[in-house]
Amino acid sequence: MAPIEKAVAIEKENVIVDGMDISGPWSRIFEQRTIFDYTPELIEKVASIPGAESFANCYQCAKCVAVCPVDVVGNYGPRKLYRYAQTGMDLTEAPQLWLCTTCANCLRVCPKEVNMVRIMPAVREQAILDGKFVPAELQQAFENTAKYGNPLGQPQRKRDAWTQNAGVPVPILKDLGRPVDVLWYVGSYPSYHPRGIDAACAAARIFNALGIDFAILGKEEKDDADSQRLAGEKGLFEMMAEYNIATFNKYEWKEMVVTGPHELNAFKNVYPRYGFSRPVLHYTTFLVRYLDRLKPLLKHPIHKKVTYHDPCYLGRHNGEYEAPRQLLQAIPGLELVEMPRNRENGFCCGGGGGGMWMDSFTAQHTTMRLSEKRAMEAAATGADILAVACPFEVSRFEDAVKSTGNEHMRVLDILELLDRSMRGDVEI
């Protein structure tokens, strides 16, 4: 690329204005700079992918780097990716393509609306379609979702097996044969993961205690696939969305309650593009409505110090910060303490955007897991319990408290805390 011709300076070396000498050394920032050492080709390559256009908007202010969670455990952030692309990194082939968790904290502060939540899925999709490198664990999660309807690779027929442990009736829409007020979409991790099942059972008991007319899809429920979409598998997402929308529309219900923020994001913000637009609520938003009826049920105090981790897809992506806190504060005896990074500036657990299925890969490019960093932040508040509201988080943080030597701190879903305060027969 030919250097751009140097502009002629328009300023004088010695200037006296109104008798005042304002002469001084010429500042280079006012000059047109010559560009020799990099080309915009690799930036344009990314920005030419539909959905990734805003990558080229970056003007290098670096506000994003200050809030990027991955930069805390590595060398990352949209501004850095832009600079890497200037100096020779092809994002479609670089490991950096897989490190973003689409937590959206960069987008919150970006004056140029460089949108990683759109850029990353678009570039990843292109890389996958072109047969470029895909982390093996992520590939496994994709294949499991396509084959079994869930990223864990568990059999579809066992999707409702957890209900046997709930100790209360969990009606299934197909068997019920009548309309219900609430369709509860349980989600893959609450259906299959042992610690997820604990939260699902707690939710079932809370819904029953509140007398909510609810039912689940049972064996007809399949993964929402939103994180697979963000990890670049749009085709898989569309296949799952078509199935899920058809299944949701088979039954009569007034509103849907989801256990997980990723499902909330899928059904509320993305499925509408595929023709589904019915009311969907995260369980925290839903339960807060019943606070007056819930409070008298919370008979057993929990005398513990609790800190709450804002899930990116509940908070920043969907604006729900207060309902989880209101629920926690409704529990008698419970003392809620905040971590320095909370609400809009909440720190990502590393599970979003497909990160849930890339821990081994990510470990090769970062100094520690995001969940470990966050567990340390939680422990520093002196909390006895780290409360969460996303089914990805219980397993992530339980690993993290162990690996960072903070096993004294329990990790519990808000559902579990409410359930324990209701029943009182379980030690924390």
């Binding site: 590939q139 059999p155 579809q156 066992k158 598998e233 085709g235 569309e238 296949m239």
Partner: protein, 251 residues
């Protein structure tokens, strides 16, 4: 270079296998592509990428749902997909090998690949049976196949980490243990695109029974015992272990 990959659609073992009469209850299980066939497809595509040629994937459509597996193979780089429309979920490897061999015979292949095993192999493997029907040599347990000038260098795995390299003249049948690389990922959007445009050729199964086994009875294994979980403090557990060892005359 024409490589034919013989695949099997088999009951999924991700779940318990329901038994009805003297066989699996085929109506209440999912069917999946045999895991080793994913490696034989990958091996075939790798050879094609190295030396050129075409890859034909063929399988017996035992429940009428083989198209998905064939579309997946096409998305991964196969050129042609053929199904033998038998709709006999109970067809064993002997029967399938006979049908496949009859179809493959007309394809003049230079190399035939099959997965070295399948979780529903009760009576041996598909590859050796096809080789016998076609009167071709067979090598099983391959972990890499390279083709040059009408010959193939084949790496075969043995137990204990031993590998042996063979030079074999084409054509022959290989039972693939593993492709030299993990099977590639086929994006769902590509598979779905292929599903709308690709043509799967259908052929009818040949007449006549094959040899093989006859099912007399099938039943889930009877649970006869279970592990005892020893609980308590370290001392209590140690005492219980000592007691158990003594009771069995080991101490």
């Amino acid at each position: 270079m024409h490589i034919v990959v013989a695949i099997k659609h088999i009951p999924s073992i991700a779940d318990e296998l329901p038994v009805r009469h003297n066989n699996i209850d085929f109506d209440s299980v999912d069917f999946v592509l045999n895991e080793w066939d994913e490696h034989s497809i990958e091996q075939a595509v790798l050879i094609k990428e190295a030396v050129g040629g075409t890859v034909t994937v063929i399988g017996v459509d035992v429940i009428g749902e083989l198209d998905n597996a064939l579309h997946l193979a096409l998305a991964k780089g196969a050129d042609r997909a053929v199904k033998i429309a038998a709709e006999e979920p109970g067809a064993d490897s002997h029967q399938q090998a006979k049908w496949l061999a009859e179809a493959i015979q007309n394809m003049s292949p230079d190399l035939i690949l099959s997965g070295v095993q399948a979780s529903n192999d009760l009576d041996g493997q598909l590859g050796p049976l096809i080789a016998a029907y076609l009167d071709l040599p067979y090598i099983g347990g391959t972990s890499a196949i390279e083709v040059t000038n009408g010959k193939a260098m084949v790496l075969k795995e043995f137990p204990g980490g031993i590998g042996m390299r063979y030079e074999i003249a084409l054509p022959f049948v290989a039972g693939v243990q593993a492709a030299p690389k993990p099977p590639r990922y086929a994006p769902v959007s590509k598979v779905r695109q292929i599903a709308q445009t690709a043509k799967v050729e259908t052929i009818e199964p040949g007449e006549g029974e094959s040899g093989g086994l006859r099912f007399l009875k099938m039943a889930p294994p009877v649970v006869t015992g279970h592990a005892e979980m020893i609980q308590g403090t370290a001392k209590e557990i140690a005492a219980r272990i000592v007691e158990l060892l003594k009771s069995r005359g080991l101490l």
